[in-house]
């Protein structure tokens, strides 16, 4: 499948926006300590969320995890409301109840985000079941890490999805680490995609640092799903260029490993390609960057200027 130029441009844009967003958060939480809680970023992994979400239609659903910012931005979430929520402000998309970890944006069909590792998978199966039940031409994408692929919920979810041939795409973001445990310290299987066979499901491993390849795999999986041919497991091999969270000194990640992967950064990789193939002029990338910068600055200002919720608002939203 040829990846359309406009899709490539879209992916580059959302990757650039994600990166600016993350860089700004890294800075904010390091210097200014303005942000409560953990700060978990996807720097270097942007091709995954951007590639997958470019392959989706607005009505498709994503269920994401603790490392969600890139996924949500790529799905079209409002950066201001996301940023305000990360700042735990009243104007955040979840009124400060979630903070950075469980950002839910039903407006763009990202209705639940969970930081329980492996939690995204059974929920995505439920969403996909509803799509099948209602006979809707939609799919659900579930994001999760290589570490999550060792949770029992992975197994139960993939088995059920395959059994019922549900329209779900299991997007495994294999960034080579689960916390401080390197991939080979948490499993022996060479490629996580191999696990699909255990459920008689197609599984593919793609270069998770090259957005068009991710896009292609997701698009094909989406097509299969819409044809009633069930789920696909897509393993995107990428790398966690920063620590697990921003307080993690990455002492267990070898320096040259980090450097080698930084060289493979998905943003210049796609940007250079588009320029060298003449799809866009190099100034267009500068424009994208300054637009992203503006969006992020704007979002940060909005977040900073927004009030915190009132204490008693804690009592709201438990029950319907």
């Amino acid at each position: 499948m040829e990846v359309p130029a406009n899709k490539k441009i879209e992916m580059l844009e959302t990757m650039i926006l994600s990166r600016k967003f993350s860089d700004s958060l890294a800075e904010l939480c390091r210097i200014e300590r303005k942000i409560p809680g953990m700060m978990i970023l996807s720097t270097g992994q942007e091709a995954v969320g951007s590639g997958v979400c470019a392959a989706l239609e607005p009505e498709d659903v994503i269920i994401t995890n603790h490392r969600s910012h890139n996924h949500l931005l790529a799905k079209g979430a409002d950066p201001r409301e996301l940023m305000a929520e990360i700042f735990c402000k009243k104007t955040g998309c979840n009124k400060g109840k979630s903070g950075t970890l469980h950002l839910a944006v039903p407006e763009v069909n990202a209705p639940c985000t969970t930081t329980v590792v492996g939690g995204t998978l059974p929920i995505a199966v439920g969403q996909a079941f509803a799509q099948q039940y209602k006979n809707e031409p939609r799919v659900t994408v579930c994001f999760f890490g290589d570490g999550a692929a060792n949770e029992g919920s992975f197994h139960e979810a993939l088995n059920l999805a395959a059994l019922w041939q549900l329209p779900v795409i299991f997007g495994c973001e294999n960034n080579l680490y689960a916390g401080a445990q390197r991939y080979e310290e948490h499993t022996r299987v060479q490629d996580m995609a191999r696990r699909a066979e255990a459920y008689d499901m197609p599984g593919v491993t793609v270069d998770g640092n090259y957005a068009p390849e991710v896009y292609r795999a997701a698009r094909e999986a989406r097509q299969l799903a819409l044809e009633g041919r069930g789920p696909t497991l897509i393993e995107c091999k990428t790398y966690r260029c920063r620590g697990h969270g921003e307080s993690d000194p990455q002492h267990y990640q070898p320096g040259d490993e980090i450097r080698a992967w930084q060289e493979k950064c998905p943003i210049p990789r796609l940007g250079d390609e588009l320029v060298s193939l003449g799809v866009i002029p190099s100034e267009r990338i500068k424009e994208m960057e300054s637009l992203a910068e503006k969006i992020v600055e704007n979002a940060v200002r909005f977040a900073e200027e927004s009030p915190y919720p009132e204490p008693h608002e804690a009592l709201e939203d438990v029950y319907v």
């Binding site: 998309c93 209705p111 059920l160």
Partner: protein, 328 residues
């Protein structure tokens, strides 16, 4: 005039499911053997539903409790009305991450944007000789989780009306059925009705003693009340029906009248939900209390399999009568 039929609680649940599935195409059921079952017994809750509604709405699942609960969470958010079954209460553990960390919390985490109208039906109760991995009453766990509602009917009629309300509720509801009640037919109105969640029911009026109970223990309370009545003690029986939200008012009004409280449950004592009733009454009804509390509960042991041991475990009429006499 109300036309009555005699149904076991399983049949009443069945009727509620049937009515709701007929009414609302968004309702589906899923679980291990909810369609094709090893039980061919009309007293069981999902008997015959596969035949009426077909495999699209009556979903037999693999033995995968986390996936079953996750299915409900995701499908509920997406606009369906899942009613899933956990075969026995101890297996709640396996579904508990999806129920407690997800069904109960994701609405709150979304700032009220996403909703999770789902029902988890759980079969519970001691008394069938299968031991502690099948019999372990864990309602206190669910009642300790904000975001969940917890319903435990004690009669088939209540079960029908409460389950229908649970299915229509916008929140995740844990609906716990005592299997001992499946096989004792009792009158159930034939027509459609909703029994509200969060309202206790006075199953017997009395002025000397309040017994708060729920689920399988109602029968024990009723039996003991007869015995006590013969000795001049008139027992008021408050059947909670819903543990969360808790109907404090009915409990407090009853204690205000009687001045004496016993809480009766089948679950083990320490950490059981009797403690919650005790605390509520001690906080808000203290001035009415004329005597110490008594808890009549399972002892702090796993449920044993052997009949004399299991009988020893399950609280009975004599335990309740004895406890009552201690506080008169």
């Amino acid at each position: 005039m109300q036309v009555m039929q005699k149904l076991g609680m399983g049949q009443a649940v069945n009727q509620a499911l049937r009515e709701e599935m007929r009414r609302d195409p968004r309702v589906f059921i899923a679980g291990e053997g909810v369609g094709v079952s090893i039980h061919v017994n009309p007293m069981f809750p999902t008997h015959g539903l596969l035949e009426e509604f077909g495999p699209g709405r009556v979903k037999d699942t693999p033995v995968s409790e986390a996936a079953i609960a996750g299915l409900a969470v995701g499908a509920a958010e997406a606009g369906l009305r899942p009613v899933v079954e956990i075969m026995f209460n101890p297996f709640f553990t396996l579904a508990s991450d999806m129920i407690v960390n997800h069904a109960a919390k994701l609405r709150y985490l979304s700032g009220g944007k996403s909703t999770f109208p789902l029902v988890v039906r759980i079969k519970s109760g001691a008394g069938f000789g299968a031991g502690c991995q099948h019999s372990h009453n864990l309602e206190a766990w669910a009642a300790h989780c904000p975001g969940l509602k917890v319903v435990m009917p004690s009669t088939p009629a209540d079960a029908k009306g409460l389950l229908k309300s649970s299915i229509r509720d916008g929140n995740p509801v844990i609906f716990i059925e005592h299997m001992g009640l499946y096989f004792a037919p009792m009158p159930v109105p034939e027509e459609e009705y909703l029994t509200p969640l969060g309202k206790a029911d006075i199953k017997r009026e009395g002025r000397n003693l309040t017994v708060v109970t729920w689920s399988g223990m109602l029968g024990v309370a009723m039996g003991a009340a007869e015995m006590l009545s013969r000795e001049g003690i008139e027992t008021e029986i408050v059947d909670l029906r819903t543990l969360a939200p808790l109907d404090k008012e009915t409990i407090l009004n009853s204690v205000a009248k009687t001045g004496r409280l016993i809480v009766l449950h089948e679950a083990t004592r320490t950490g059981g939900f009797a403690g919650e009733i005790a605390a509520v009454v001690m906080e808000e009804g203290f001035k009415h209390l004329k005597a110490p509390l008594r808890r009549v509960t399972g002892p702090d042991i796993p449920v044993p399999a052997s009949p004399p041991l299991e009988q020893f475990y399950i609280p009975d009429e004599n335990d309740l009568v004895r406890a009552a006499k201690e506080i008169f």
